[in-house]
């Protein structure tokens, strides 16, 4: 395996939801998704709302199952197919290899912001002082006021929660970052901070797969755009 091998390779992936409580209604999401992401690249998923962009990120994260295909993630010296990996292997990938900034923060309730942010770094085995310093650095950079750090983020504004989420998503050293609209609820100054952070990760060789509705941000961070509407399912299942 060489360095130019993709970090992420999505091959012939199809996904639908079967709604058993609606008489088995099948809602197709995507069919035959195929693309790769190499180290140092930021591949942006394009296409209209509802085309399945967020679903693709969730499939790569192992949060959604898939009907068909393979999602191969390079982890250390091997390839793990998320589609067939055991829960234990997926948790391992999430700890060592993948990071995810979801659209909405879903933190464990009643946990202080600083601890929410530090957790992925601690899980990688970083010393507590180092993890704390990194978390403080990211929160400061993202303009999350220090008086909020000891509070759980549940009561924060949408923009503050999103910045906590970004800090949590970026704190650990991973090879693959999944970014679902990380700048959606941010003002211009904070958007610029996030763009800088993404550029720094890119320069460090992190492979990124993202969704950015903001055209300016997309133009600045995207190495390539993959149009998800090309993967639309044409024939609707009966």
């Amino acid at each position: 395996m060489t360095h130019s091998d993709p970090v992420l390779s999505v091959e012939g992936v199809a996904k639908s939801f079967v709604m058993h409580l609606r008489g088995g209604l099948t809602i197709p999401v995507v069919g035959d998704v195929a693309f790769t992401v190499a180290a140092g690249e930021c591949v942006v998923l394009g296409g209209p709302s509802g085309a399945g962009k967020s679903s693709i990120l969730k499939m790569v994260w192992g949060n959604y199952g898939i009907d068909r295909g393979a999602i191969r993630v390079r982890s250390a010296d091997r390839l793990v197919d998320v589609a067939t990996a055991t829960p234990r292997e997926i948790l391992g990938l999430r700890r060592t290899t993948m990071g995810y900034v979801s659209q909405f923060l879903r933190a464990v309730p009643r946990v202080a912001t600083l601890d929410v942010v530090m957790e992925p770094a601690l899980a990688q085995g970083l010393a507590e002082t180092e993890a704390r310093a990194r978390a403080q650095g990211l929160l400061t950079r993202l303009n999350v006021p220090e008086r909020l750090w000891t509070l759980p983020p549940a009561t924060f504004s949408g923009g503050e929660q999103q910045r906590v989420n970004i800090a949590r998503g970026l704190i650990a050293d991973v090879d693959l970052l999944l970014l679902d609209e990380p700048t959606a609820s941010l003002d211009a100054a904070n958007r610029a901070v996030v763009v800088d952070l993404i550029e720094a990760k890119k320069a460090a060789g992190v492979a990124m797969l993202g969704i950015f509705h903001d055209g300016d941000v997309r133009d600045r961070v995207a190495t390539r755009i993959v149009d998800v509407s090309a993967f639309a399912v044409r024939e609707i299942a009966a």
């Binding site: 939801f17 079967v18 709604m19 058993h20 409580l21 969730k58 192992g62 949060n63 959604y64 199952g65 829960p87 234990r88 292997e89 997926i90 948790l91 391992g92 700890r95 464990v108 309730p109 009643r110 899980a123």
Partner: protein, 264 residues
């Protein structure tokens, strides 16, 4: 959520094809899984789904009709639970295992002081010094957020949430490796449940415990577990990573369970 230990570690407990019939009636059928230290497995399903039967089989309290449960002892031996002597099984239960019942009265000695409840488990593993036992009991009461000055009161003087926390202290004082929990938050007020869940989450992570928790509450499963097994009519109908099962349920019954709660 606590992080599991590396994949290379062999299973602590492994169930293979566990089946239980009560006469003609099915308790559970063909259940297989394994669990390692640091992992939390939630078994979810409604009453009568077989989850309590499964817990009894796994903890050796009920003989299986078919299948086996293998357990890795502290000495590193893999033992078939059914082949253990009664004394060995009791020893495991007192030392290496914990069992947290929904009804704290089943897991505590209600006529004995809180300190006695915790100290009894310590004495079972050979502690003899009164001072050391009492000091450790005080420390554990503090760890489960019970005022240590109440050490001499019996659980009957405690609230429901305190009793449940005392039960947890009694179970964890011997540093077990595997803890079974049967609806640990059932019957408690919502705010009391939240506090108990926070406590359990913290202790599980700090101690690297393996936990098998039976619950009908999907919020409990989401907060505590890495993996979920969904049971219906004695069978496992869906299993997987907790967030996958809850966010993308495949089986009709799992979809029904998930759709039945306000915010999964």
């Amino acid at each position: 959520m606590p992080m599991p230990i590396p994949i290379s570690t062999p299973p602590l407990l492994e169930a293979r094809g566990l089946t239980k019939f009560y006469g003609d009636r099915l308790g559970c059928r063909d259940v297989s899984f394994d669990i390692r230290e640091g992992e939390v497995l939630a078994i979810v399903g409604e009453s009568g789904s077989g989850k309590s039967t499964l817990l009894s089989l796994l903890s050796g309290q009920l003989p299986a009709s078919a299948g086996e449960v293998l357990y890795r002892t502290r000495a590193g031996e893999i033992r078939d639970l059914a082949a253990l002597s009664e004394a060995e099984r009791r020893f495991l239960f007192r030392t290496d295992w914990g069992f947290v019942h929904q009804d704290a009265a089943r897991g505590l000695r209600m006529g004995v002081s809180a300190g006695g409840n915790v100290g009894e488990r310590l004495m079972a593993v050979g502690a003899r010094s009164y001072g050391a036992i009492r000091a450790k009991a005080e420390d554990w009461l503090d760890r489960v957020e019970i005022d240590p000055t109440r050490i001499d009161e019996p659980p009957t003087a405690y609230s429901g949430g305190m009793r449940q926390r005392l039960q947890i202290a009694r179970n964890l004082v011997t540093a077990p490796r595997l803890v079974f929990m049967d609806e640990p938050t059932g019957g408690l007020d919502v705010s009391v449940q939240a506090r108990l869940l926070d406590l359990v989450r913290r202790l599980v992570a700090d101690m690297g415990l393996a936990v098998i928790v039976v619950t009908h509450d999907l919020a409990v499963a989401r907060l505590l577990s890495h993996r979920i097994m969904v049971m219906k009519q004695g069978r496992v109908i869906e299993e997987g990573l907790t967030d996958r099962v809850l966010d993308d349920p495949r089986a009709a019954y799992t979809q029904l369970l998930v759709s039945s709660i306000l915010q999964p």
